[in-house]
């Protein structure tokens, strides 16, 4: 038998890795040529990989959810063909493969792609990306190795010595790597934020000289960035005060940084027995960046309100029975969304954004209502565009489609951007309330807790009533306590007595 290994190819021009989303075959399955083996998500797309071999799957070398480097074998298939006589399969090859070890893969003949090439190298594998090992030139026959020329400023762009990282990054920068489902947009926001910060720093750095940024050539700037040297802190020795490559390397080799305070050391994750390390990537990374950007940009205030929603729940039953609501989900969330939209019409300021650059508050002309959705790939916040314009039935249909699309992982990037206010439905998890963090760029977010039957004073007597908690976080730069309180009270009033809507 001949075991063949399929290496993760570069499916999109210059990718270095991909995440195996799910396996579509299992060990023992019989596969045909071009039968889909697994789904792989790369920075560019989620694609199915078809089998190059027909045979029986003997090993899946990585579990779903693993990010694998391009060129790494991911599956072993026994194609049933006799192994070449010259290279008999060693005993126990199957067991070895099952354990993730090397298998006896039928190598292409020398001279072919993937086969041996002169010099002991492997011929170029089309689509398998660059080799991971550093190209090393063997010494010329008969001659001494040439002395390495002394480094001259500016003569070494991109090559990089052993003592410093290469000037030109060969791997994509992970922090701005476009990820699926709106991550790119979030990444851009983070970038813009970082750029604004950098500009602000530069402004403050050299006020006397009337110069925005310290003078240095681009390669030197890159070197400084790579070495972690702050150009603003250096005094240039070049002509006209220009910071030179030597200034940067000298600064990098200078006095060791101050001792790290104990508090910072204590903040490092504690090592525990049996710990797991989960790489931060994709939606998780985008979420983390967005939350950090929001939490440390907008001063959050959260207010709480407990509401008797018995009437709303009864109204919900009546409305669900109406013919125009057939086929759509009439959930409590729908009424919370409607109440929020009505209240936002009364208090348009809660539906606004802070424009730091222009020093203006942007009061939005329409409500693009975001709904935080838990999906297999993480938290996504798609939004319903111009939700205030929709009738209740239209809103119900829009919310149903939005959440289903998000859960299926098919939310279009356009649905992820442009949100103006958000609802997070923590109640579906059986939780009473929380202190939500604003979706970046928005000024309010409403958390909707679980609806519970509780003893409640109703018309002077303690009755079992259906009660929920609302929590509203808002950006205190834009929304004052008074406005936030009125807005939350309006949402609560609409839910406890839906008839109030007539007064809005």
């Amino acid at each position: 038998m001949a075991l063949r290994q399929f290496k993760l190819p570069d499916v999109g021009e210059g990718l270095t890795d991909g995440e195996i989303l799910q396996w579509l075959v299992a060990v023992g399955d019989t596969v045909t040529v071009n039968q889909p083996l697994c789904e792989v998500e790369t920075a560019k797309a989620a694609v199915e990989l078809p089998s190059p071999y027909a045979g029986t799957v003997t090993a899946l070398l990585f579990e779903a959810g693993t990010t694998v480097d391009v060129g790494t074998p991911i599956i072993t298939i026994d194609d049933g063909a006799d192994a070449p006589a010259a290279a008999p399969a060693p005993a126990g090859a199957g067991a070895e493969a099952a354990a993730g070890g090397p298998a006896e893969s039928a190598e292409p003949a020398a001279g072919l792609i993937g086969g041996a090439a002169p010099g002991g190298r492997t011929a170029v594998l089309v689509g398998y990306g660059p080799r991971t090992t550093e190209a090393r030139r063997r010494p010329r026959r008969g001659g001494p190795p040439p002395a390495r020329p002394a480094a001259t400023p500016g003569a070494d762009y991109g090559s990089g010595g052993q003592d410093r990282p290469p000037l030109l990054a060969t791997a994509p920068d992970m922090t701005v790597k476009p990820v699926r489902h709106g991550g790119l947009e979030v990444g851009r926001q983070a970038e813009a934020h970082a750029a604004a910060e950098e500009a602000a720093t530069a402004l403050g750095a050299a006020p006397g000289r009337g110069r925005l940024r310290p003078l240095a050539k681009p390669p030197v700037r890159k070197l400084a960035k790579d070495l972690g040297v702050d150009l603003a802190a250096l005094t240039g020795t070049g002509a006209g005060g220009v910071i030179t490559r030597e200034d940067v390397t000298a600064a990098a080799a200078g006095p060791a940084p101050e001792a790290v305070p104990d508090a910072v050391v204590a903040a490092a994750p504690v090592a525990t027995a049996g710990e797991q390390r989960v790489p931060v990537k994709g939606v998780r990374r985008a979420t983390a960046q967005a939350m950090v950007a929001s939490a440390f940009t907008a001063p959050h205030v959260t207010e709480f309100l407990t509401v008797d929603v018995t009437r709303m729940m009864k109204l919900r039953q009546r409305i669900a029975a109406r013919p125009e609501f057939a086929g759509v989900k009439v959930s409590p969330l729908l009424f919370v969304a409607k109440a929020l939209l009505l209240a936002a019409r009364r208090h348009p300021m809660v539906n606004s954004s802070w424009d730091e650059a222009a020093q203006e508050i942007v009061v939005h002309g329409q409500v693009n209502l975001g709904i935080a959705a838990a999906t297999p790939r993480g938290l996504l916040v798609p939004n319903v565009k111009d939700a205030g314009r929709l009738s209740l039935a239209e809103l119900a249909a829009a919310l149903t489609e939005l959440t289903e699309t998000a859960r299926a992982g098919r939310t279009a990037p356009g649905d992820m951007t442009g949100g103006t206010i958000t609802i997070t439905n923590v109640g579906v998890f059986g939780v009473d309330t929380g202190t939500p963090i604003l979706n970046p760029g928005e000024s309010a977010i409403l958390a909707f807790g679980a609806v519970r039957e509780l003893p409640w004073v109703h018309k002077g007597k303690v009755r079992p009533r259906q009660v929920t908690q609302l929590a509203l976080s808002f950006d205190h730069r834009i929304v004052d306590g008074e406005l936030g309180s009125r807005f939350l009270a309006d949402v609560g009033a609409l839910l406890s007595d839906p008839g109030t809507a007539l007064a809005f």
């Binding site: 570069d10 797309a45 398998y128």
Partner: protein, 379 residues
């Protein structure tokens, strides 16, 4: 036969691309409906024999199979990239089969179906996408120019070639291929202006597959594309790009007009790219599944099969034989691709000039010496 003048009238701008529902388009030339019914068009009569019909079906099935296999090979790491023609088979086969001896085609990088009609070996196209060469076919012998990756540049090549044909007094025409996105390129507009000014024997064959990678057509034009031809001063016609008979008839007529000295024609083959722009693209990010489902109903192959079956021109044995031939082709493509040898490092020097120049010869010698400096190297 002349190209209908009615189609050149500029009517009120209709957002034709915003609602790509074929029945709602009065200007669309169609000879075979999506249901496989033969219909007539006053300007484009066509008489195809039973054998020609079967051959067209065979062409369509085989190029689709080639395309599917190439897409799979890319996903298996055997090709660097692949530009799929899925859904555009009829537009390409119809246009390619309209070419006569002496005509020359100027493709983009997606015209695998046209390459097929010119007798280009699929492996010679595959080798380009595997990075082995720049296209393995002889553009002169096949009258099929090399693939042009620069968007729209081939329209200038085709126009220039057509002006040459004109000066030679040859009764032949050039067929320039382009996509809807290319119509926004300066080169395409320049080519059309030159072609119109000189009445060059060139036909601009635009496969409007609705998306310039991710940009939908309505972002690129306020009028249906074929109406743009009026602005340049030559006829424009919109044809159902998923109808191989209509494409064949319209392209034949346009090429005949060009050969007769009536100047250029712009053909908008209204079609849909069923797959990704290339294997590096994820179309689910910018278009809806419902749109794809709608276009599936207009499949270019299914309608021919339905017509062949219903009219008794072909039977099950014929369809089975074509399927078997497609399987064989796929196998040949797979084996041929995997076994394709790497070119020698010096191959790049061979195709720069027809005759090697001394500076280039010196560079080649230097490069060979460098290669030889590696220990144990056979180079």
């Amino acid at each position: 036969m002349s190209v209908s003048s009615a189609t050149t009238e500029v009517v009120d701008p209709v957002p034709g691309a915003a609602a790509p529902h074929l029945p709602a388009q009065p200007d669309l030339v169609q000879l075979l409906t999506p249901e496989g019914e033969r219909v007539e068009h006053p300007d484009y009569a066509i008489d195809v024999s039973a054998e020609e019909l079967r051959d067209l079906y065979r062409d369509l099935v085989l190029v689709r199979r080639w395309d599917v296999e190439a897409t799979a090979l890319q996903r298996q790491g055997e090709l660097g990239i692949w530009a799929s023609l899925l859904g555009q088979e009829a537009a390409q086969i119809g246009a390619g089969r309209a070419l006569a001896d002496g005509d020359v085609a100027f493709p983009t990088y997606r015209e695998h179906g046209v390459a097929w009609t010119r007798g280009v070996d699929p492996l010679h196209v595959i080798s380009l996408f595997r990075g082995v060469d720049n296209g393995g076919w002889d553009p002169v012998a096949t009258a099929f120019n090399l693939y042009t990756v620069v968007i729209g540049a081939q329209c200038l090549h085709a126009t220039g070639y057509a002006m040459g044909l004109q000066r030679d007094g040859a009764e032949s025409a050039a067929l320039a291929f382009l996509g809807d996105g290319a119509t926004s390129q300066g080169e395409v507009n320049e080519a059309m202006i030159w072609a119109a000014s000189f009445s060059a024997p060139v036909v601009f064959f635009c496969q409007n597959n609705q998306y310039a990678i991710s940009v939908p057509l309505e972002r690129q034009t306020r009028v249906p594309l074929y109406q743009r031809a009026a602005g340049f001063g030559f006829p424009g016609v919109r044809v159902d790009g998923n109808d191989v008979l209509a494409v064949l008839a319209v392209t034949r007529a346009a090429l005949a007009a060009a050969r007769e000295g009536q100047g250029p024609t712009f053909i908008e083959a209204f079609t849909y790219r069923m797959g990704a722009h290339t294997t590096s693209d994820d179309p689910t990010r910018y278009r809806l599944a419902s749109e794809l489902e709608e276009w599936k109903l207009r499949d270019p192959i299914a309608r021919v099969k339905a017509y062949l079956s219903r009219s008794g021109v072909a039977d099950a044995a014929f369809f089975d034989a074509v399927e078997a031939e497609a399987d064989e082709l796929a196998k040949r493509i797979r084996t041929g691709t995997v076994e394709m040898p790497d070119p020698p490092g010096t191959a790049m020097f061979d195709q720069v000039y027809a005759e090697q120049t001394p500076p280039l010869a010196a560079q080649q010698a230097e490069f060979e010496a460098y290669q030889a400096s590696f220990e144990g190297s056979g180079h």
